[in-house]
C-alpha cells in the first residue's frame, strides 16, 4: 500500500512536469473544461427556467444537483477519465503488453497514470456555486461529512462502471470510441432519479447505479437524505468495484496482444 502511495505521488509530480512542458495544451484543456462546466450549469438553468419544481425537487435543489455534478465530474475528469481515453486507445493499438509487464498492479497503473489538472477548474466552480447557493446558510458537520463521504462512494461507482465497460475493449478492440459513449451516458446522473422512475421502472432499473452517483451526496446538502439512500450507494459502489476487479482479471485472460 505504502509503495502505491509513493508511486502515485511520483505520478502526480510527473503529470505536473508534463503540464509545465506543454503549457498550450494545458490552456486548451482549461478552456475546454470551463466551457463544458459552464454548459452543464447554463443548460440546467435553461431547462428549468419555466418550472419551479420538477420530480419532487425544487428548481433550487436541481441546481444544487448540477453543482454537485460539476464537482464530482470535475474530480473524475481530473483523476480518471483521461486514463480511460488512453486505455481504449492502448488496447486498440496493441500497446497493452508494455503496461502489463510492469511490476505493478495493472488496474492501478491503467486507471491512475494520467492526471488532468485542468479539470480542477470544474471542481472549483462547482464548490463556488454551492457556496453561492447556500447564501451563508450554515451546514452541520454531519451534512458536510455525509456529502464528502457520499461523493467518495459516488466516484467509486462511476469509476467501476467506466472500468467494467471499458474492459470490453479487450474483446472488442475496435470500440475505442466507447469512452465517448461513457461521457454521454454519465449525463444521466445530472437529473433527479425520480425522473427515470416516473418515466418507466425498466429505464430506472437499467440506469440505477448512475442515478445514485450525484443525487445521493446532494440529498445530504439539501437535507433530504434517508438511511436507505446511504446504504444503497455504499453497497452499489462496493459491489461494482469488486466486479470491476474481477471483470478486468477475466478480460485479461482473453487478451491477445497485437503480435499474437
Amino acid at each position: 500500500m505504502k509503495r502505491y502511495v509513493k508511486i502515485y505521488i511520483r505520478l502526480l509530480h510527473l503529470n505536473f512536469s508534463s503540464l509545465l512542458a506543454y503549457r498550450a495544451n494545458f490552456v486548451n484543456s482549461l478552456i475546454s473544461s470551463s466551457v463544458w462546466g459552464g454548459f452543464s450549469i447554463i443548460s440546467i438553468l435553461l431547462l428549468t427556467s419555466r418550472s419551479s419544481s420538477l420530480f419532487g425537487w425544487s428548481r433550487h435543489d436541481i441546481i444544487f444537483l448540477t453543482c454537485s455534478y460539476s464537482i464530482i465530474i470535475g474530480i473524475f475528469h481530473t483523476f480518471f477519465s483521461r486514463n480511460f481515453e488512453h486505455f481504449s486507445r492502448v488496447v486498440d493499438l496493441g500497446e497493452l503488453d508494455t503496461l502489463l509487464i510492469k511490476p505493478i498492479d495493472s488496474q492501478f497503473f491503467i486507471s491512475l497514470r494520467y492526471i488532468n489538472y485542468a479539470s480542477i477548474i470544474r471542481i472549483v466552480v462547482g464548490f463556488f456555486l454551492v457556496g453561492y447557493l447556500l447564501k451563508g446558510e450554515a451546514l452541520s458537520f454531519v451534512q458536510l461529512f455525509g456529502y464528502g463521504t457520499m461523493m467518495f462512494f459516488g466516484l467509486i461507482t462511476l469509476y467501476a462502471l467506466w472500468y467494467i465497460i471499458t474492459s470490453f475493449t479487450i474483446w472488442l478492440s475496435r470500440l475505442s470510441n466507447i469512452v465517448e459513449f461513457l461521457f454521454t451516458i454519465t449525463n444521466v446522473s445530472r437529473f433527479p432519479p425520480q425522473m427515470y422512475r416516473e418515466f418507466s421502472w425498466y429505464v430506472f432499473l437499467f440506469l440505477f447505479p448512475l442515478t445514485l452517483i450525484i443525487a445521493t451526496p446532494t440529498k445530504f446538502l439539501i437535507n433530504k437524505i434517508d438511511f436507505p439512500d446511504v446504504l444503497i450507494l455504499i453497497i452499489t459502489a462496493s459491489v461494482l468495484f469488486i466486479v470491476s476487479r474481477f471483470f478486468w482479471k477475466l478480460a485479461l485472460r482473453f487478451y491477445t496482444s497485437a503480435s499474437s
Binding site: 484543456s29 463544458w36 443548460s43 475505442s176 470510441n177 465517448e180 454521454t184 427515470y196
Partner: protein
C-alpha cells in the same frame, strides 16, 4: 469533353462507395457514434415528459406530441446533419501533414472531404430514421409530422441546405488549425455553442426571449432547429422559403470565408517529410 466530365464524376461516386465499405468494416464504432446522437435527445425527452406532468409548467403552443416528435427528429438531425470532419482536417491533414497527399491528387480537397464525410452521415442518419420509425410504430399518437407534400418537399431542400451549412462551417473550423497549433479548445467551445444555440437542448421557443433572439440570429439554428420544425409542419410555405433564403445566405458567407482561409492557409502550410 462531356465523357471526360462523366469519368471525373464517377471517381467521386467510386470514392463514396469505397468510403461506405470502410464504414461497414467499422460498423460497431459507427453504431457507438450513433448512440451518442441517440442518448441526449432521449434523456431530454424523458425530462420533458416529466415537465408535462407538472400542472404549472408553461410551454407555449407545444403539446407533448409535438415535443416528442421534436426530440425524435432531433435524433435523425443530429446524426445526419452534424458533420464531424473538422478533426480529420485539423489533426490528420494539417497538423500531421496528411494534406500533402491530397494536394498532389487531381481532386478538389473540399469535395474529397465532402465525399469522405457523406457516407458516415448517411449511415448514421439511416439508423436515426430506423429509431424514429420504431418509435412512430410504438407510440403513434405521440408523433406528429406535416402531411402536406409541398411542405415536405421544401423541408427536404432545407435539410440539404442545412447539411451544406454544417459541412462548410466544420471545414472552416478544421482550417483554423493552419493558425492554431492545438485546436481542441476552440473545437470544444464551438461544440458547446452549437449545442446551446442549434436547438439540441430544447425547441428555441422555450428559451428566455434574449437567448432565443440570439439563437435565431446565428447559423446553427438553420442546421438543426429549422429543418426539424419544417418537417413538423410548424412553418407556413412563405416562412419555409424565408428559411431557405437565410440558409443560402449563410452558405455563401461560409463559402467565401472558406475560400479565403484555404488560400491563406495553403500559403502558410508546410508538410515536412511527407
Amino acid at each position: 469533353m462531356s465523357s471526360r466530365k462523366n469519368v471525373h464524376n464517377m471517381r467521386y461516386v467510386r470514392m463514396f462507395l469505397l468510403q461506405f465499405q470502410e464504414i461497414m468494416v467499422q460498423r460497431a464504432r459507427s453504431f457507438v457514434w450513433f448512440l451518442l446522437s441517440l442518448l441526449n435527445p432521449l434523456l431530454l425527452l424523458i425530462f420533458w415528459s416529466g415537465v408535462y406532468q407538472q400542472k404549472h409548467a408553461f410551454l407555449s403552443d407545444w403539446s407533448i406530441a409535438t415535443v416528442t416528435s421534436y426530440y425524435l427528429l432531433l435524433i435523425i438531425a443530429s446524426s445526419l446533419l452534424i458533420v464531424h470532419i473538422e478533426e480529420t482536417v485539423a489533426i490528420i491533414d494539417i497538423r500531421e501533414g496528411g494534406l500533402v497527399k491530397h494536394l498532389t491528387r487531381p481532386f478538389s480537397y473540399f469535395w474529397l472531404m465532402f465525399i469522405n464525410e457523406l457516407p458516415w452521415r448517411v449511415f448514421q442518419g439511416a439508423l436515426g430514421i430506423f429509431v424514429f420509425l420504431l418509435f412512430s410504430l410504438l407510440f403513434k399518437s405521440f408523433v406528429q409530422l406535416s402531411h402536406d407534400p409541398a411542405t415536405l418537399i421544401v423541408s427536404f431542400l432545407i435539410i440539404i441546405l442545412a447539411y451544406m451549412i454544417s459541412f462548410i462551417f466544420k471545414m472552416i473550423l478544421g482550417l483554423s488549425a493552419f493558425w492554431f497549433t492545438d485546436f481542441w479548445g476552440l473545437q470544444q467551445l464551438v461544440e458547446v455553442v452549437i449545442l446551446s444555440f442549434a436547438g439540441f437542448l430544447m425547441p428555441l421557443e422555450f428559451y428566455p426571449k434574449l437567448i432565443e433572439q440570439i439563437a435565431y440570429a446565428l447559423p446553427f439554428s438553420y442546421i438543426i432547429y429549422y429543418p426539424i420544425i419544417a418537417i413538423q409542419g410548424k412553418l407556413l410555405l412563405p416562412q419555409l422559403f424565408q428559411v431557405m433564403g437565410i440558409q443560402l445566405m449563410w452558405i455563401i458567407v461560409f463559402a467565401v470565408i472558406y475560400k479565403y482561409l484555404w488560400r491563406k492557409g495553403i500559403e502558410k502550410f508546410v508538410g515536412v517529410g511527407q
